[in-house]
Symmetry: C2
Subunit: 604 residues, 2 copies
């Protein structure tokens, strides 16, 4: 029976393939809005496919915009569960009353820390001479903290609004007061700060809805492509370098925030709470804290615990009294993004053994479940991101992102136009295809292909040999060197998995589920990863791409006040394994650079 991972609730549903998603969700107690009962006539039941969205039906096209369709939104009553996949349900507000369980924990209630409330307050009179603040606290029924900037507004706001006032709080802190009945938010910002890409999500925390999501390249790339080169930049340029890196980042985030609130007619000041995730170095640079200790043995960060800052302290473009949570770090190389991804996919509640992989220049790997979790970070090099590859490029328009064998080498290009190069997933697919047809041997050698239908694709000799994917105006190749780069990446990740398995005393077969997370990782074809030997073959049916699970975790931190303490527990419980201190790692690394023997194409 195919299974369906429903985010952000982290519920895994096994669903008969004849059932519609709409009915499966309803059966499972996840309330999906609908006025037509699943007949495709109301357009309210939309969900988002985080991978391989099915072709839109005519009902989809009628009710959903072009943008929504291309973002993976479909009407849930129009599609069936034909294979495993992950989807996201849009509104938490609608399901706030439902106790959703993931593992043993009740999860998924809408319990935001940020709340907005309109209260009517008796005005002062001869018989009631309490101060404005005492009057407000009494009306709210509890003690609140009022920062000076809000206190300074209070007398005028109370009197303008005729002693009716809308109060926005984050926890006990009052971050905004407005005259009259203004409640329409509050709004929250989830931020995933990647080394390469920034992703931002605007949430209506009152309704539990994601309103808009935007991404932007991390402008720090100008100072170095990876974490180590950015740390190096700070070490070389000191406080000025640090300020430059922080400044560029905050400027870009400011642009993202404007692009989120602008279309909705909101102002950045209406965002009162933010949750931020990313790797430890990005978190340090975001906060303006020198990440140098991460760059030197023993690779410790300046802080690990989840931190709570004032937006004002950070200079973040939002309400200056707003609260910003940076989720906890595990070590210098396993960060808030990994903790958030674990939170989102519920690995820490798993009964059996689960594996979380976030592939990138640094691959974060978590193995475990409710009893115990171990984690490491493996330096995979830039191959998964298309870096240091002859025809490599990032996963943007013009990149070949899929390569298949279908009566010849076929490929797909992002955006559909002329191919400009190969992105990481394209490279992985291409090498997997060449392995499957025996053109690459287990040592990673690109063979001549003599006597095969592909001989014409091969040029050159030895280290200069290459396989042509496309001729045409801009020929695109895979070179022997590219294969070596990918071997390094694959070897590092697989060796990391093996080290964690042996730390756990477990074998690969005991892994019940593999979550592929992150911008790159969740886009990889599971079949190709297995063909490469990045994961053992028997895990293929257990692989679940979970999209940007780190971003989902950040959203959860805003939507559910229990999520932050939960993230803290995850970070504390997770055992970090520093691979550079592990003797078996080096041996595994070398061994795992080999590709698997099997030359048959692996099928799911």
């Amino acid at each position: 029976m195919p299974s369906l991972l429903v985010l952000p609730y982290r519920r895994l549903l096994r669903v008969p393939s004849e059932e519609t998603i709409f009915s499966a969700l309803r059966t499972a107690g996840i309330r999906i809005p609908s006025d037509c009962g699943g007949q495709g006539r109301c357009g309210r039941c939309k969900v988002r496919f985080l991978e391989a969205a099915p072709s839109p039906t005519s009902a989809d096209s009628r009710f959903l915009s072009e943008e929504e369709l291309s973002a993976g939104w479909r009407l849930s009553c129009q599609h069936r569960v034909e294979h495993d996949f992950t989807l996201e349900v849009p509104t938490l507000g609608e399901v706030a009353q439902v106790k959703v369980r993931s593992g043993e924990q009740p999860i998924g209630s809408l319990r935001p820390q940020a709340v907005q409330r309109t209260v009517a307050i008796p005005p002062p009179s001869r018989g009631d001479r309490r101060a404005d603040l005492e009057r407000l606290c009494a009306a709210l029924g509890e003690e609140v903290e009022v920062p000076l900037s809000v206190l300074a507004k209070l007398p005028e706001v109370l009197r303008t609004g005729d002693f009716q006032i809308t109060v926005t709080r984050v926890g006990r802190k009052v971050v905004e007061v407005e005259p009259g009945a203004q409640a329409k938010g509050p709004y929250g910002l989830a931020l995933d700060i990647g080394t390469t890409t920034l992703a931002a999500y605007l949430l209506d925390l009152g309704k539990g809805e994601e309103l808009l999501a935007k991404a932007l390249a991390n402008p720090q790339a100008a100072f170095g492509a990876d974490v180590l080169s950015r740390i190096g930049y700070v070490q070389e340029h000191g406080q000025k370098g640090l300020a430059a890196l922080k400044g560029r980042l905050l400027e870009a985030i400011g642009q993202l925030v404007e692009s989120l609130v602008g279309p909705l007619g909101l102002s950045p000041e209406e965002i009162v709470q933010a949750a931020v995730v990313g790797n430890p170095t990005m978190m340090h640079l975001f906060a303006g804290v020198d990440p140098s200790p991460i760059g030197q043995a023993p690779f410790t960060p300046v802080w690990k615990r989840g931190m709570t800052f004032q937006a004002r302290e950070l200079g973040l473009r939002m309400n200056p009294e707003g609260i910003v949570h940076v989720l906890p770090l595990v070590s210098g190389y396993v960060g808030a993004d990994t903790v958030a991804a674990v939170l989102a996919c519920g690995l820490h509640h798993a009964e059996g053994l689960a594996l979380l992989l976030d592939l990138g220049t640094n691959g974060e790997i978590v193995l475990g479940g409710r009893e115990r979790m171990v984690a490491c970070s493996a330096a995979a090099g830039p191959a998964f991101e298309g870096g240091r590859i002859a025809c490599g490029m990032p996963g943007v328009e013009g990149a070949i992102f899929r390569v298949e064998l279908n009566g010849g080498v076929r490929y797909q290009v992002l955006g559909g136009g002329e191919p400009q190069g190969l992105c990481g997933t394209g490279l992985v697919d291409a090498v997997a295809v060449l392995l499957s047809i025996g053109l690459i041997d287990p040592c990673g050698r690109l063979l001549s292909g003599d006597g095969t239908p592909f001989a014409a694709h091969i040029e050159g000799k030895g280290n200069a040999r290459r396989f042509r994917i496309e001729e045409g105006k801009r020929p695109i190749y895979i070179t022997q060197r590219d294969i070596r780069e990918l071997q390094l990446a694959k070897g590092a990740i697989r060796a990391g998995v093996e080290v964690l398995l042996s730390r756990m005393g477990a074998t690969p077969e005991e892994i019940d589920r593999v979550y592929l997370a992150g911008a790159f990782g969740s886009q990889m074809r599971p079949e190709s990863l297995v063909q490469l030997g990045l994961l053992p073959e028997e895990l293929l049916p257990r692989i679940v791409p979970v999209g940007n699970a780190a971003g989902t975790g950040a959203k959860l931190a805003l939507l559910d006040c229990e999520a932050l303490p939960e993230a803290e527990r995850i970070a504390q419980e997770m055992e970090y394994v520093e691979l550079s201190y592990e003797k078996p790692f080096a041996k595994q690394f070398v061994a795992q650079m080999r590709f698997p023997e099997s030359r048959k194409e692996v099928r799911s």
Copy 2:
């Protein structure tokens, strides 16, 4: 037996007149430093007389500077307790171990919230990969809050100081980290923001010592002499007016702070905690909060509770991460200064009935004791501060501040030079003298003096009549109008006392002690106040001037972490009586404008 009020411990000692102050303090368990055992040879036993300091002995002159002597400092082993008076003991640090009791409460331990500690921290190693922050918390043995600016310094400070670090905290908040062993503070600032005068005290919170005190005129005087005219200015000029008033005040406080730290070679950033007192309007203007609601019935402030702000929010010249406490208010006209004065003189612990008077344009009056306290504010007009008086002037150099009958009318001038005018205490003394010799009748009429030795001093008729105190280059008079102004002031205060007494169901005789507090009030000759009828004659021996008790209360708030919650209880327990709503007040006011019948000079 004369009694001795010892501040800041608020202990009242009854001392045989043959005993030296030094031995009386020691007997009472108040530890006074000494190396010579009271023989006048070590110079360490100094105390400060808050009123009428005795003439310096030769030992005083040997060990104490001119400045100290003129500020009232004397060696306690050199003086005896010949009549009631108040003195201040300089160092709390020296007596930190002594349980001093005032009423039933243990008071006067040095228990500051701000503490400085040097800790050695194990550096990170392969076997200990905790983050810097976690490492610090473990070394401190408790969880602390670290603001971003301090977190950003942490990695460098730790490494510069070879993992020895000095941490300054206010409560749980770390406000400063410095490399190595730096402990020499921490420093605190007590601020008394008067409508007319700003007083600032710099304290070493580690030792419990007052290092320096400075005063400055409140520059807001340019916007109006009294509270109501400043509120009027804000109402007229809106946010800009408010910003101007706040700006001028903070600028002056900044100058005060510089003048406190400069001579000691400190920087303002070394001040990490401040306690601020003043009347409600001054507290609103200090915080930049519109005080308008105080200006209109029902005269409520924007807040009452004690507030805690970040120095950064206020823009106060000190460590920007420092903590600023504004003591609680009781109403729109009874403020943090009154609460602090009660705290300092211990009225809220009094077994019997005590009366606290702070005379000024608004006279604050508190009556009560440990069971119950009632308070009011009486609009006395500017007479007590020398305002709206023909030859009136503030109590600065050149002001006649004492007038006596001693074979003729004699006076004393502040600073000793030519008299320029009369300050409030001079006016009170002068009227008291004229009453005592029958030149003013109980209705307040200035008589012709015909047939008396003073006839030559009198000029004019009716409302234009005046009494010449000094001819010479700049003749100085008291006019019939001046007497009327003083009658208004006296009438308002005495009527306020009577209203509070009747609210308490008590008679004047039941008052055990009268504390005269404040810059003006504590300078008044008790005999003159009684002669005027501002206080009933039977209270004369029970009057104790307590100096700037509000400032002392602010210091206590920094020195003893229990003082702030105590102030909160005082403010909550104090019943506020709004005199404008009290019918009996108007009647009393008119009746109390009369002076007492007795024409004999009242002697203590």
